[in-house]
């Protein structure tokens, strides 16, 4: 059985890629949406300063982290759809590696998120944004963003397995937004009322955004903040990965 673990994982990943091929518009929308958010916050909310100068340097790392956080919805939606379409029953009744369904999901979602990062960074560069850190620091920042996405991914899988119904995806979508914005993605916690600032500083997403700013060499960024951005996602994974895997196994209860 395990002899096929890799083949099956690859087959399941290819399944997701075929779905992109079937619905290219959906894929493009997913990739363009974060860009839209970036422009919206840069030009509208950013007080007319546009996507330039200091705020831009601050905003782009925040948008990258926010995009990773919003990936949770996409993962949850996809898993919920699979569960409700019954196609998971066919997978489970076949002699395939047990985990391949989840591995395929992870691989495809991570790939899509990596593409979203590339698009967003590309648009930022086109608007004149530059990283000030070195290449290694840049790759480190991308790594931290993907690590954070990976944690979001398993939270998404777990929530889908727990909630199970499409209505619940909507509920989570409504919740993800405030949680996403209750971070330092768009604004400094110093500018918020005390208790809110505390919540924002505790938000795992804020740690990732801060560390990314540091690694990108954003002027005035808090330095030495890389470790929390490693530890938080790993801690979330330590909780939600086993929970999700157990839930998946329990589909047979």
């Amino acid at each position: 059985m395990t002899a096929y673990a890799l083949t099956d994982a690859w087959t399941m990943t290819r399944r997701e890629l075929s779905r992109w091929g079937r619905q290219p518009v959906q894929l493009v929308v997913n990739l363009v949406f974060p860009v839209m958010l970036l422009l919206m916050f840069g030009y509208l909310v950013g007080g007319g300063r546009g996507v330039s100068g200091e705020y831009r340097d601050y905003l782009i790392p925040g948008m990258l982290a926010l995009t990773m956080a919003f990936g949770l919805e996409g993962t949850m939606l996809a898993v919920t759809q699979d569960l409700n379409k019954g196609v998971i029953d066919r997978f489970r009744s076949m002699p395939m590696a047990n985990g391949a369904v989840l591995v395929g999901r992870s691989a495809a979602d991570m790939l899509q998120s990596a593409m979203a990062l590339v698009v967003l960074i590309g648009v930022g560069a086109a608007l004149g944004w530059r990283v000030h850190g070195g290449a290694a620091a840049f790759l480190g920042a991308v790594g931290l963003l993907l690590l954070f996405r990976f944690a979001m991914l398993w939270i998404g899988i777990h929530l889908a397995l727990v909630a199970g119904k499409p209505e619940m995806v909507q509920a989570v979508q409504i919740l993800v937004w405030p949680v996403g914005f209750l971070s330092n993605a768009l604004a400094l916690p110093d500018t918020m009322p005390g208790w809110l600032g505390t919540v924002v500083e505790w938000n795992p997403m804020s740690h990732t955004a801060t560390a990314v700013r540091d690694l990108f060499g954003v002027p005035g960024a808090e330095s030495g903040h890389v470790w929390p951005a490693v530890i938080w996602p790993l801690a979330l994974l330590a909780v939600f990965f086993p929970l999700a895997v157990r839930r998946f196994g329990r589909l047979s209860r």
Binding site: Y4, R19, G86, R90, M94, S252
Partner: protein
Amino acid sequence: MADAAITVEGAEKRYGDKKALDGLDLRVARGTVHGVLGPNGAGKTTLVRVLSTLLRPDAGRIEVAGHDVLGQAYEVRLRIGLLGQHAALDEELGGRQNLELFGRLHHLGAKRARARADELLERFDLADTGRKAVRQYSGGMRRRLDLAASLITEPEVLFLDEPTTGLDPRGRAEVWDSVRSLVGGGTTVLLTTQYLEEADQLADRISVVDTGRVIAEGTADELKARIGGDHIDVVLRHAGQLGAAVALLPLTGVTVDADRRLLSAPVTDRMEALSGVVRALQESGIEAEDIALRRPTLDEVFLHLTGDDHRVKEAV
């Protein structure tokens, strides 16, 4: 037991307080079609899910194709095909993409998976729709594709959970034809249905299931014989006389089918019933087009077994 493709002894499955399977027993010989007949909520889907390793039973010994569904789930999965009550397909992908995907997951390899997909699309008359997304398929097409997907590896044992529910008569006939053509190939089929006609048409043996238990088992003929009594059918010339006939004829437990101007009733003594009916018709002047004695239909057996009549249930 070597010739049994499916053995179920004392299967139990609870959902909270509800017993979906309550000591169910079943034995299906290799190469036969076994019908599981039962009303809504009888436990048919639960049984199929347990047999196809999707659901863990709480108790019981359950073997499929010579392997235990709990301890040897992988061995079982190698040998079964499943057509669930609801379509188990990737709706976004095309028909061919679905079949190729499942072929690869059966480890046929890319080339054989492709060839097998083409073969099955051809066989199920889906060849020219293979590129369309399954989302755009009609109910009948979807069912055929689902059936094709469950046959990727020519399984030893095939489970069909209400394969024709929700299909129009043409779709139903198509699925029936497919099932019949499979049986020739030596596959063992377990088929659940609410349609008595379907079990009668397709199954060698039938288990009637209610509240998670088998309440009767046998061939269609045996089941009919077991609840005994023949039936008498009287077709009248004028529908207007149905009411009068029910009152006059020396019969009890009469059912009326107004469209066909038909009266039916169980009888104990065939000859006595026949002569009694003929005499009553002559005396009253009610005109009959046809009078016939016959064995009960599976429909009648079914209502008899699953109805409120617990005394009958006990006796069987």
